[in-house]
Amino acid sequence: MNDPLVIAPILIPLFAGALLLLAGPGMRRQRAIAGAAVAALLAVVLLLFADAAGGAVASYRLGDWPAPYGIVLVLDRLSALMLLLTAVLAIAALAYACAGGDAQGRHFHALFQFQLVGLNGAFLTGDLFNLFVFFELLLLASYALLLHGGGAARTRGALVYVVLNLAGSSLFLLGVALIYAALGTLNLADLTRVLSGAEAGAHGLVRAGALLLLLVFALKAAVLPLHFWLPRAYGRAAAPVAALFVIMTKVGVYAILRLFGMVLAEPGGAAGPVAGPWLFPAALLTLFAGALGLLASRGLREAVAYLVIVSVGTLLVGVVGFSEAGMAAALYYLVHTTLLTAGLFLLADLIAGQRGGDALQPGPAVRQSRLLGIAYLLGAMAIAGMPPLSGFAAKVLILSAVTAPAVAPWAWGAILLSSLLVIIALSRVGTLLFWHHSAGRRGGRAGALTLIPTLSLLAAGPLLVLFGESVSGYTQTAARQLIAPLDYMQAVLGPARESAP
């Protein structure tokens, strides 16, 4: 118990962030601190991941207070997976930013580290209110990072993003309040335990609270009709920022999984299938809104942003049943889509830079057209779910998991049709970018610092399929651990409490 490594993913970037505030304006020093921090973070997270993969749930009692009184960090397979994804994105985004993007605004590195604190905290915490705190932290950092680099478009996108999310933050508090009032605890494991024994009268409150939280998480995840902020925010953010932001929608999905897949999903649990009936139609509509938005995109980054929305819809189709297979498939899809869309954001930036603009209009030829063209092709195929890349495996997993006769026709139809729309859109975009040229000024060649992270992220497309069985094996056990949280409860509450009614 209380392995200090568990808190390291929070402390490392927090420490680095504080140092960066003190470090002054020199970019070299800032990059050194940030780079060292992210490298250390990745190393720690890899160790934690290896631990979690073994199946053990580790908990960390902050202040040495026993749960449910103090705050507990919990590392299970799901959180370890999210931490790893975050660390991978972070290192790629940071490397990309260090090519010069980081100097286009103030305090990039400090904000970046604080964003990581928020993300890692949200993935690790085992306490509902503490989750709120980390949500706020990661949001606030993201607000500022979104503005990084300046410009009217970013400001406009940020306003919408910030306003909606601030309203969401207040709703989060309402949800927490309702759940605390009904159940008298905030610890997730304790909530899971208590929920089976809660009085009938309290369940309405729990449901109301849970649904408000669902709203908040769906807002973060950009589920229709709460997705409006995303295309503007992601489509306009600086490339490394957008790449890191990809994980942010996944925080919403993670929270949905944690709350509705674990806390409220106990068999015979109090709240029953709370989220599913709302989430399923929303997921389908999200898919379509995303795909149509993608078709309507006028800029490359905007298109990638809509791909994020499509992916959220697909992901939730897998999630909504809150079945083991569905969540496992969704997690596989999550890994795939996170890495790929992040890579595509970086790639879009490279392409836009080399053809002198982001607008989806004929432009000068991309300078490194063969390399970037192949990268685009692979990325587009993977994200569209075309074989033999990761998107295909992910899609098949999700389709195979959603077989209930009531939902399957809708789910299958929506996923396949949206895939077609994505193919239509991405083939248009691709031919426009790489085949349709007009005269104009174009940018210079991309350096290794930007190319390597971009290509590495896109390499997830083939790699996730090549090692598909390991990945899907992991996600399967992660889903199993989530849906049967005995280990989780035992790790948090200890053996004595876990067996209490």
């Binding site: 705190v133 706020e136 406009r156 207040s170 508090l173």
Partner: protein, 110 residues
């Protein structure tokens, strides 16, 4: 008392919702502030109501006061303050970058 508090929270939420629907940065920020006040009260109320006590050992009625929501609200107040401060800065940034107070895209018509 409960009814009164619930009613006040309802009014605050309704007013903040109306302000959020104004679509201009300043009223919207007013609405956000009001909403966060309402949310804080709501969270505060999750511990139940105790009149005239204090969650301090030895204070009158200390046993009836649930201290946890108070601690949570304190955190929420501070976080809310940070958020409002930033969003106000953002409003200024928007003023500088966009010239207008209206939060909408070029073609945005309501």
């Amino acid at each position: 008392m409960a009814l009164l508090l619930a009613g006040v929270i309802g009014i605050m939420v309704a007013c903040s919702a109306y302000l959020l629907l104004r679509g201009e940065s300043f009223p919207v920020v007013l609405g956000l502030t009001l909403l966060s006040y309402a949310a804080n009260l709501f969270l505060f109320a999750s511990g139940g109501l105790a009149l005239g006590g204090a969650p301090i050992i030895g204070a009158p009625g200390a046993g009836e006061v649930d201290p946890l929501p108070q601690a949570l609200v304190l955190t929420a107040i501070v976080i809310g303050f940070g958020m409002i401060a930033f969003v106000l800065a953002l409003v200024l940034r928007a003023r500088g970058d966009l010239g207008s107070d209206r939060i909408s895209e070029g073609q945005g018509r309501e």
